[in-house]
Amino acid sequence: MAYGRFEAAGMAPRRHRAIKILLAGGFGVGKTTLVGAVSEIKPLRTEEPLTESSLRTDNTAGVERKTTTTVAMDFGRITLREDLVLYLFGTPGQERFWFMWDELALGALGAVVLADTRRLAGSFPAIDYFERRDIPFIVALNCFDGSRRYEKEDVRVALDLDPGLPIVLCDARSRESAKEVLIALVEHVLSVADEPVSR
C-alpha cells in the first residue's frame, strides 16, 4: 500500500490537498538528483500527441499519421500530512517538450529554477516562462564540486532577475539542502501573496 493514501475505509472522499511545485532548469543541472534527494521518487511517463508547434520543431513535415512522443518525467511526492501532499514535477528540459509545461504550470504553487553557474544560459528559457505567466519562482544554484562559485548578486545581474527574487545556493544531492530550497520557495510564495496582482 502506497503511503499517503487515505487509510480510513469508507471515509467520504475528502479533498486531497495536492500542492504542485515545478522544478525547471537546463539539461544535466541536477533536477532528477534534487527530486530524489527530498522526495519519494516515482516513475512517470507521458505519451502525448505532438501539438502543431512541437510538430514544427520536430520537423516531421510530410508525416501524415498522428505522431505521439513519450517523455519520462521527474516526479516525486512528499507526504506532509495525510491529506496534504506536495508533488514535485521536473519540467522536461528540451524545448520541444514545452507543450507539456502549460498543463504542468496550471495550478502550480510555484517553481524552482535550478541553475548551474557554468551554464547559466540554460536557465533563461525557464525564467522567461515563469515571468511571463506570473508564476512565483526562485533560483537555486546547484553548487557542484569544482563548479566556480559566483556571488549571488553576480548571478542576479547575469540572469537579469528582480531585486526581490530569492537566489539560494544548494547541493541537489543533499536532502537538507533540497528541503531548504523548497522552504525558500514557499516563503517566497507567501511573501508575494501579499502583493496586489499586477495586470
Binding site: A2, R5, E7, H16, E47, L80, P136, L190, A193
Partner: protein, 125 residues
C-alpha cells in the same frame, strides 16, 4: 510460458502494445478536463457490462479504491499519463469513479494557512 514469438521481448524492449492501442487510438478523453493532481475515487458502483472494461481499466479502478491522484495512478500502473486520463474518463462515464478537482492553488491566490502548513511540514521532514 511465452510462445516462441514472444521470447525475445523483455522489459528492455519497452511496451509491446503501443499505449494508444489500449484506448482504441483515442488521444483525447471525453467530458470535463481534469488536473494532474485531481483526486480520483472509486464510487463502488456496479459494473453492468464487464466486457466494457479492459484489464487496464480494472487496474486503474483497483488503484482508485482509496482516493488517490491522477499522477499517482499513472505512476503505479506504469502507463503514460495521456492513456491513464482516457481510461479514467471512460470509468467516469460508466459512473465507476468520481474525479474531484484539487483545491485551487492559483499563484497569488493561495490559502495562507495551507502554505503555513506546507512550511511547517517541510521543516519537520
Amino acid at each position: 510460458m511465452p510462445s516462441n514469438d514472444e521470447r525475445w521481448l523483455d522489459a528492455e524492449a519497452g511496451p509491446v502494445v503501443r499505449p494508444y492501442a489500449l484506448t482504441q487510438g483515442r488521444t483525447r478523453h471525453a467530458g470535463e478536463a481534469f488536473d494532474l493532481v485531481a483526486t480520483v475515487s472509486a464510487t463502488h458502483g456496479r459494473v453492468t457490462d464487464p466486457g466494457a472494461l479492459s484489464p487496464e481499466h480494472v487496474s486503474v479502478l483497483h488503484l482508485a479504491r482509496m482516493p488517490t491522484t491522477v499522477v499517482d495512478i499513472a505512476s503505479d500502473v506504469d502507463l503514460p499519463l495521456g492513456v491513464v486520463r482516457i481510461l479514467l474518463a471512460d470509468l467516469r462515464e460508466l459512473g465507476l469513479v468520481a474525479i474531484h478537482a484539487p483545491v485551487p492553488t492559483k499563484p497569488r491566490q493561495v490559502d495562507r494557512n495551507t502554505l503555513r502548513e506546507v512550511l511547517h511540514g517541510l521543516r519537520a521532514l
